[in-house]
């Protein structure tokens, strides 16, 4: 059955990475990203919350037709993080997201993975229909958005009344 679920999730390959369907064995690494000593992802989760939270994103593949990938190194398959074309309840549009385990930050992996996930989002929705919501203080993620050629959408920030979160829009409507 897990194999059947895998058929729902396209495998994306980049120069250094393979983005594959998430599995239950990925949960501890998902938890590790949200560990309390983390430098920018804030809210800690216990194991139960982490399972539920990760399952929620995984369920997106069944309910929305898009969701989260586990980011692995080409070659030995080491898990290094996650990237997603996600959808939260009440969100007007899908969100491109990325998160790396601490040991793998600073090597351009997030940009490389998110670039592939963004292309997948474009294939589903066309350009200009996917955003990233990034905390105003999250300089590293803002840099990734810039490298992906995303642009701040000030009008959308105003419309949503956001103060501490920036909206980065990927691509432009043709």
């Amino acid at each position: 059955m897990a194999a059947r679920f895998g058929a729902l999730v396209p495998v994306l390959e980049t120069d250094r990475l393979i983005l594959r369907a998430p599995c239950v064995e990925d949960v501890p690494d998902w938890s590790a990203i949200f560990a309390p000593d983390d430098d920018f992802l804030g809210t800690p989760m216990d194991a139960e919350e982490a399972f539920a939270n990760f399952a929620t994103y995984v369920g997106g593949w069944m309910l929305n037709g898009h969701g989260i990938w586990t980011m692995t190194l080409r070659g030995d398959g080491t898990r290094i993080g996650f990237t997603m074309v996600g959808l939260e309840w009440g969100d007007a549009e899908p969100e491109l997201g990325w998160m790396l385990l601490p040991a793998y930050r600073g090597h351009g992996y997030a940009t490389e993975a998110a670039d592939a996930a963004r292309d997948h989002a474009f294939s589903l929705f066309g350009p200009g229909e996917t955003v990233s919501y990034i905390d105003a203080g999250n300089i590293k993620s803002a840099r990734v958005a810039q490298k992906l050629s995303a642009n701040r959408d000030y009008a959308e920030e105003a419309r949503l009344g956001l103060q501490d979160v920036h909206v980065w829009r990927h691509g432009a409507h043709p």
């Binding site: 679920f5 194991a47 139960e48 539920a52 929620t56 593949w61 309910l63 309840w89």
Partner: protein, 176 residues
């Protein structure tokens, strides 16, 4: 997605999908959802049902969506619920609306799921955790042939006060 589809006289059971979301959000909004972590607002309900779907993907089993053959309406869920903190999968069931109660749907769906777990997946037994105040579920568990299981591993801390009932292969043959 190719996943098992179970057919009964009046029902079709298959993996959760987007067509079930509205009925589940409605279900979680009502007091009837009290034994399922509710009532919940639409956002938390949306996330909870997404989590159910994700569990199916993770584990290869989970809640089946229960739909009427006649018209296709989503009337409930039935299947082994297995979040991160449960010691084992739990056979659970719910009907999305009071309007579907009293018609034998939960029994019909659960009978099919139990047969699937024991015959197709070769499970040796499965537990149901039942709140002492949930008289309808207790009655159904007994009708399905489950027995109180005092030797069960401790129920999850998230379900204080529940009683463990255990279903065994072959027990589910009680005729109404």
């Amino acid at each position: 997605m190719t996943s098992p589809v179970l057919h009964t006289e009046r029902l079709v059971l298959s993996a959760p999908g987007p067509e079930d979301m509205d009925a589940m959000v409605q279900f979680f909004s009502e007091d009837r959802a009290q034994f399922y972590g509710g009532p919940l607002g639409p956002g938390p309900a949306w996330r909870r049902f997404s989590e159910y779907a994700g569990q199916w993907a993770f584990r290869g089993y989970g809640f089946f969506a229960v739909r009427l053959k006649d018209g296709g309406a989503t009337i409930g869920l039935a299947g082994p619920y297995h979040p991160g903190d449960f010691p084992e999968p739990e056979m659970a069931w719910l009907l999305t609306s009071e309007a579907y109660e009293g018609k034998g749907y939960a029994r019909e769906a659960s009978t099919a799921v139990l047969a699937h777990l024991f015959s197709d997946l070769k499970w040796r037994s499965v537990v149901s955790y039942i709140d002492p105040d949930n008289h309808a579920s207790r009655a159904l568990a007994l009708k399905l042939g489950a027995e109180p299981d005092r030797d069960s591993p401790p129920p999850p801390a998230a379900l204080p006060g529940v009683q463990a009932f255990r279903h065994w292969p072959g027990a589910n043959r009680v005729v109404a």
